[in-house]
């Protein structure tokens, strides 16, 4: 393949990464923005989503699409409810103290991860995609007869990957609509702006917090269900989404949802292209250093203007 089709392919793969990453990171960003809680266990909610999707898809017989779409609803709901329970039993009792909640969510990370190891086991297991048609992509070539289309070997994507991108975009639009157009969103933004004042105006802040934590975890689980037909469900799969979400949320500006989405698209797209030129380990080293340095020298994020 020439360089042109190669980069198109890397961009398409990157777009899938970006879509899933945006969902996961928006969940993390929402929780940090409204609750000021850094949820280290966010990656494990992602992992739980994938593992539950496997259980649901395997439990239901019939066409693979039945199991997948059932998982698409059941996994985020279950994970959301679990996260709400965690919020009410643990985080609320710590008064959302930033440092103690970090320690508690580190503990939660190990509980969820090791719990999955004990029940689901150490194997990586796939979930079948509901539809998976291969789509060959054309490429322009300047030949002797002017521009012409041809289909380079290997330049293709699947209908499922395109559907993942569309679904993620829809959900992100939904989140944006919820935050700007509904009463729930208004209440969340009010709580984010001034917790005490919100409380004084009769907003049930504790219920809002539980709701936000549930939605944040649910978004991570949803992202995992979308990706699990492409990757596989494994008990250790939460580490990478957590690290990438952190990078995205910090570069996009802590707690800023538009900044998070922009950063997710940039990081997701560049991830595929960068790993063409650098080794993945070196790319990760540069990314983690970038996050550390951004936090030190530009705590509002590269794109954000709002102070954290």
């Amino acid at each position: 393949m020439d360089l042109g089709p190669y980069i198109l392919l890397a961009t398409l793969e990157g777009a899938v990464t970006a879509a899933v990453l945006a969902l996961t990171a928006v969940g993390l960003s929402l929780v940090f923005g409204v609750m000021r809680v850094v949820n280290i266990a966010h990656g494990e909610f992602f992992m739980l989503g994938a593992v539950i999707a496997w259980y649901v898809a395997n439990g239901l017989s019939g066409h693979p699409a039945t199991g997948f779409f059932a998982a698409l609803i059941i996994a985020p709901l279950l994970v959301g409810v679990l996260a709400m329970a965690v919020d009410m039993t643990i985080l609320k009792r710590l008064n959302y103290d930033p440092e103690r909640t970090i320690v508690a969510t580190i503990g939660l990370l190990y509980i969820l991860q090791q719990g999955a190891l004990m029940t689901y086991g150490p194997e990586a297991r796939p979930v079948e995609a509901p539809f998976n048609t291969r789509i060959a992509l054309p490429w322009l070539e300047l030949g002797e007869n002017g521009l012409s289309f041809y289909y380079p070997w290997g330049l293709s994507t699947t209908s499922y990957k395109l559907a993942v991108i569309a679904a993620a975009a829809l959900v992100l639009l939904g989140v944006w609509g919820m935050m700007t157009r509904t009463k729930l969103g208004l209440v969340m933004r009010a709580t984010q702006a001034d917790r005490d004042m919100a409380l004084a105006f009769g907003i049930p802040v504790e219920r809002v917090y539980a709701m936000v934590f549930g939605i944040g975890a649910g978004l991570a689980a949803l992202a995992a269900v979308l990706i699990v037909p492409i990757q596989q469900a494994h008990y250790m799969m939460g580490a990478d989404p957590l690290l990438l979400s952190f990078i995205v949320v910090i570069i996009g500006g802590l707690g800023s949802l538009p900044g998070t989405v922009v950063a997710a698209i940039i990081i997701g797209l560049s991830d595929g292209i960068i790993s063409v030129f650098f080794s993945p380990t070196l790319a990760k080293i540069l990314a983690t250093l970038l996050v550390g340095l951004v936090l030190v020298f530009r705590p509002q994020g590269l794109f954000g203007t709002r102070a954290p």
């Binding site: 320690v103 580190i106 190990y110 090791q114 690290l243 983690t288 996050v291 020298f297």
Partner: protein, 313 residues
Amino acid sequence: MSGPRVLMLHLGLLAGLFALQFVLPAYHHGNLARIMVLAAYAVGYNILFGYTGLLSLGHALFFAAGMYGMALMIQHGGATPAPALLVGIAAGAVVSGLLALLALRTTGVAFMIVTLMFAQAGYLTILYFAEWTRGDEGFVIQQAQRILWGIDLSQPTARYFAAWAVFSVAFLISLWLVRRPFGRTLIAIRENEERVRMLGYDTFAHKLGAMVISGTISAGAGAAYGLLFGYAGASFASVQYSIFPLLWVLLGGAGTVLGPFVGTLFMFYLIDLSSGITSAYMLIAGVALVLLTLFAPQGLVGELRKRVFRGLP
């Protein structure tokens, strides 16, 4: 508790550990040597977290700096253990000083994430240079390379005494430090940094000092661990090894001199016992972290100080 009694209690622990060597069965003998070196790491962590109030999630970077500084000198530099140990400790001092200059510009949650990210970058760097470090697999330091001043550190008895010496040094530095004006200022910074600054103290210099001392002790423990147990591997630089000292110190009691040892002792045996039952032994660590933050943020020795021995350092 008055000064002499405090001193008696702490020296008593060291004497007790010294004496235990003659009565312990082989298995626990080996375990306790490990626990003492790891407790020295926890003592280092405690100076920054317990006394200065800075929660670092990146101490594995310092532990690994010591371990690899020592191990690479022996493996590729052909050094003998004594200079290799010094190189390890110096590596820890340099790395912690550099990280402190960056990370101390932030506070609270940002400090935790900055230390976490730099430690992760350090871990990945060890994997990246797998040609020298052998990455995840790590490398063994041969018995012949572990003879310090004619003492074979691979022998259980010599190893126990060496571990005891490492722990004693860290423990006594910590006990001495927190009773000095410098240590008292650190405690004041933990309680109210604004007020300390208003009183005219240079809080940045104090925090920098605390982080370098903490990192250097952690590096010393890392170097000793590699030398005594003859192995250096990338897993000692992973996030898990940053979480462990936090867990030990929280369990034993942050901001107490005895706490790090007590916490390391209990958690080591808790994980040792549970790993006999299930492969998911880190579950215990997770449950302990959650329960400790919820119900006993003071830790074991901290609770003891609150109820029985007031004035314990």
